[in-house]
């Protein structure tokens, strides 16, 4: 036992100190943004994948170990990670990444949140008090988040501050051109009525002018019930939706059911980087999202 402890201790002490800034990203989109801005100056650990419901992540031991070594935590905020991140940050024994420290960054602080509930009551489901946290799907939000993140990276790693700034500028240039392209490509989607599984695409809809006509979940976080789905189907008569959207991590059953009954396509969108093989980075995420939406329209 003592020998094991000693060897673990030695392993811990001899662990090679890497030069790159250690960053802990809660969700894949921030990992991808960090790679765009920081390149090889940052060493990014991404806590979750696109196939995992970001509301239901466990504070597993490996996350504590990674948070312990991180110099910066990049989270979405707006309570998206409320079920696990506060615990991981507190129990990490890492003073630099506590809330309010420079090593703790929340993207939600830099954008205007949509769907801020007027009243807070859990009878309305698992509502997020600060607003809808799925803010990565409006690509315009990434300018402000990216700029703030580049500044933060520069504060934590001053020798590379210029590199982060130019990394961001290079990204922003490409991003602006890409947004113009996407907006043009997505023009036929404006005003198209859609059903969604969960309110995951509020920002996407806001950006592209999609019309969300209903959610398969009766209340946020409550599983679709057959009664609620039948109600939605009945509404198809008067206000027909053109397709039904879900994320890569949501079960396909409810959207397939309603799609089959209503004769509309069920479209799975990557939701974040890694949600589909094509969504390998932030550019791929939106390329693939729009491609899939347009395909659903035809």
């Amino acid at each position: 036992m003592i020998r094991l402890m000693l060897s673990l201790l030695l392993a811990a002490l001899c662990f090679p100190a890497t030069a790159a800034l250690q960053v802990f990203a809660t969700v894949p989109e921030w990992g991808a943004l960090l790679r765009e801005i920081g390149g090889d100056k940052v060493n990014v650990f991404v806590a979750t994948t696109a196939l995992q419901d970001p509301h239901r992540i466990e504070a597993r031991p490996s996350l504590l170990a990674q948070a312990r070594r991180a110099q910066l935590v990049v989270a979405t905020g707006a309570d998206l990670e409320a079920g696990w991140l506060p615990l991981v940050v507190r129990d990490s024994g890492n003073a630099g990444i506590q809330r309010g420290q420079p090593g703790y960054f929340e993207a939600a602080g830099y954008v205007t949140l949509l769907d801020v509930p007027a009243t807070l009551d859990r009878t309305q489901g698992d509502v997020h008090a600060a607003g809808n946290p799925h803010l990565q799907l409006d690509p315009r939000n990434l300018f402000r988040i990216g700029e703030a993140l580049a500044t933060r990276l520069g504060e934590l790693d001053p020798p590379n501050a210029a590199a982060y700034r130019s990394g961001y500028q290079a990204f922003a240039g490409k991003w602006q051109a890409a947004i113009a392209r996407w907006e043009k490509e997505a023009a036929p989607l404006r005003g198209v009525p859609m059903l969604v599984h969960h309110a995951s695409f509020v920002y996407l809809a806001h950006w592209l002018g999609l019309k969300q006509t209903g959610t398969l979940e009766p209340k946020p976080g409550v599983e679709p019930s057959s009664g609620h789905l039948s109600g939605l189907l009945a509404r198809q008569q008067s206000a027909p939706a053109k397709m039904v959207l879900r994320t890569a991590y949501q079960s396909d059953g409810p959207s397939q059911w309603i799609a089959g009954k209503a004769g509309i396509p069920a479209v799975m969108l990557p939701f974040t980087v890694g949600g589909t093989p094509e969504a390998g980075d932030l550019f791929g995420l939106f390329d693939d999202t729009i491609r899939r939406l347009l395909k659903g329209l035809n």
């Binding site: 392993a11 239901r56 504070a59 597993r60 031991p61 990674q66 890492n94 830099y110 700029e147 036929p188």
Partner: protein, 472 residues
């Protein structure tokens, strides 16, 4: 725009019917279509203008709202310093949550419910409380407060509200700013030994604790300590955590002693990691040392008469724990499986004094003191499978071994039973959301020698208020 081609198509389709349409007719139709096109385009342009105006208006709105969305990076205002309206003092109130928990239980009426072959944690005046409450009853109603105190500390209190009593379950502060992987906790807390020890009843996967926790720590099924806890998380990619605690040691298997210094200490190490994206595990080894002064229990003498025993000495408890969780793609929402198992060995070493407190004329009428030395063990293993977002089912098996019970000189006057208490439990539970759950549990309980108790429990657990994060 979508409807335009449709309208055109409809018109064309309609015109197809008019086979004998003259050139003049065609021209008329063409001009009609042109008119429609123009009118649609005008309406769309007007709508777009309206939309642009609305967006401008929205942007011009209160400064409390950060500027809507910069269309281009160069037009951006400097990032808002997280504009939040100045809140009232109540915004600093701690996070509050309340746990409502209650049950209906159907089981045998056993006034003195103990675990045969094991020292009863409640002494000899606490038998039968809680554990064998039958019918409808309320479990603890837990009130939880927590908040950051300042940049250096965070605090939490958990009060268990019962009839005519408020018990301080936990009340501690925790360091936030020491760094280097060091965490310090002080106050009253659930010790970090084992796996289940830190979990409160509302986090359990069954309506009651494993038999081994009852045997080790009594009805609370957790070792709580008034003291200090120091943890160190190693800077390794694999989770390796060392913990050490010193404290008052007032709770079973120790006893309270009003003295300087520490009455108990504990040390543990936990190791954990992921195995691919779908599996995570944690395992650990813990040691707890407590000491007792006049720890009381009822015994039976060789003539079957009641006698009382007082233990003075030290107790060493070892616990090994293992937890494994699986979820497809690491997404536990729809399906997941959790396996957990713990094993303990406990050794009492000291002296036992046999007495006749009730004056029943037992063999200890003249108190006799002799060596007391035990080595007892036990384990449980359980698996819980969540097969839809709402439904879970689980099985648990408990087994203890009364082991070695060496009574020294008192062996001639007192009887101890060699027994292997066993219990098998099955449960199924339904959760409407993360905040409400109802559970049905059946157990075949052979923890007392001589009979089998078939126990049915229907339990509800509801949590109100702040969304507390749960440990792994």
């Amino acid at each position: 725009m979508l409807h335009k081609p449709l309208a055109v198509a409809a018109l064309l389709a309609a015109s197809c019917g008019a086979q004998a349409a003259s050139d003049a007719d065609l021209a008329a139709i063409r001009s009609q279509i042109d008119e429609m096109k123009k009118s649609y385009e005008q309406r769309i342009a007007a709508l777009e203008k309206k939309l642009a105006q609305a967006e401008l208006d929205a942007q011009a709105k209160p400064a409390a709202q950060a500027e809507a969305r910069p269309a281009t990076p160069d037009k951006q205002a400097p990032a808002p310093a997280v504009a939040v309206a100045p809140a009232s003092a109540s915004a600093f109130n701690p996070e509050v949550s309340l746990i409502l928990q209650g049950q209906y239980a159907q089981m045998k009426n056993v006034p003195d419910r103990t675990i045969t072959g094991f020292w009863p944690a409640g002494g000899h005046d606490d038998h039968g409380k809680g554990v064998s409450t039958r019918g409808f009853s309320l479990n603890h109603t837990e009130l939880i407060f927590s908040a950051g105190i300042d940049p250096y500390w965070r605090g939490q209190a958990i009060l268990a509200v019962q009839d005519e009593a408020v018990e301080v379950e936990e009340a501690w502060f925790q360091s936030l700013a020491i760094g280097r992987g060091v965490g310090l906790k002080g106050g009253r807390y659930r010790s970090g030994i084992g796996y289940l020890n830190e979990q409160h009843p509302h986090q359990w996967d069954f309506a009651n604790a494993p038999l081994m926790y009852d045997a080790l720590f009594g009805q609370e099924a957790s070792y709580r300590e008034d003291g200090l806890q120091l943890k160190w998380l190693a800077p390794t990619p694999v989770f390796v955590e060392f913990g050490a605690e010193v404290g008052r040691g007032a709770n079973f298997p120790g006893t309270d002693s009003n003295k300087n210094g520490a009455g108990a200490w504990a040390a543990y190490v936990h190791v954990g990691d992921d195995l691919g994206v779908a599996n995570n595990w944690r395992t650990g080894l813990s040691y707890l040392k407590t000491s007792s002064g006049d720890r009381e229990a009822d015994f039976v003498d060789i003539n079957g008469l009641q006698a009382q025993g007082l233990f003075n000495g030290d107790t060493a408890t070892w616990i090994a724990d293992f937890v494994w969780k699986w979820a497809p793609d690491g997404n536990p929402k729809y399906r997941n499986f959790k396996f957990q198992s713990e094993y303990f060995v406990r050794k009492d070493k000291g002296e036992l004094t046999c007495m006749d407190e009730g004056g029943v004329g037992n063999t200890c009428a003249t108190p006799a003191t002799g060596d007391y030395d035990t080595r007892q063990s036990g384990w449980y293993a359980q698996g819980v499978y969540q097969f839809t977002p709402e439904w879970r089912a689980g099985l648990r098996y408990d087994q203890l071994d009364s082991g070695r019970q060496n009574l020294g000189a008192n062996a001639a006057s007192l009887v101890v039973q060699d027994y292997k208490p066993k219990r098998a439990t099955a449960m199924v539970d339904y959760s409407w959301s993360e905040f409400s759950r109802v559970r049905l549990q059946y157990a075949q309980d052979k923890s007392m020698a001589g009979f089998t108790d078939n126990q049915w429990i229907v339990q509800y657990i509801m949590s109100l208020g702040a969304h507390g994060a749960h440990k792994f």
